[in-house]
Symmetry: C2
Subunit: 126 residues, 2 copies
């Protein structure tokens, strides 16, 4: 049976490519690899292969019109972030969002970020 698309969790390497795609928008392997190689030594075909696997998993969509295929994230950054958080909340926080938030905020959290969170809470209906 085919795995439910929404249940697909990107691996670490896949997530790093998604981050690039969310930032750049649709891009070729070459463009993506250019960014990747600024921070690590991963080879071109490695990036290509990961993108091909991501395509099989429907984590990215691919425009094959031109010789150099153009890849784009299949899901929004927001959607993916939500699913990663939900996963972590269920596996490490007994399903409690507030416990996660309590752990997320610590001495290293800047006053600015705390303010942002305060404003978010103020803007809630509940």
């Amino acid at each position: 049976m085919a795995r439910d698309k929404s249940a697909v969790k990107p691996t670490e390497a896949e997530l790093s490519l998604l981050n690039i795609l969310w930032q750049m928008g649709p891009a070729t392997v070459r463009q993506i690899h250019e960014i990747v190689s600024t921070t690590n030594k991963t080879g071109y075909t490695t990036v290509l292969k990961i993108l091909q696997i991501m395509h099989e998993k429907s984590l990215v969509i691919r425009d094959e019109t031109n010789r150099a295929h153009v890849y784009a994230a299949a899901n929004s950054e927001r959607h993916t972030q939500s699913s990663l958080i939900k996963d972590l909340i269920s596996k490490a926080f007994g399903g409690s969002t507030s416990k996660l938030v309590m752990r997320a905020i610590d001495e290293s959290t800047s006053a600015e970020e705390i303010n942002d969170i305060r404003q978010l809470l103020n803007s809630l209906e509940k």
Copy 2:
């Protein structure tokens, strides 16, 4: 070179055993397996093997005084939760805690949980 202990991230199977250990306190393989088998069909030796690997990684400590070794989590739940969150924040939220909190709170978050979070914010110095 040996991997930095604090950098060891439990795998999914390992985290599920840690959850049990945090809840039960120190326990034998048999006790742990008993809990595990209420929710899935994992065999006894599988649980044993994972615990042995966790011991090598220093994710658990082991009391070998008796025939049946007694395992306990090496790090607190709090500490582990913090490190898992920091990891997620850096890999999926560009290092921004407030972005994570914003995604964590959604329509499915209960009013109680929101209140808990409000109280946490009120109790902060910043």
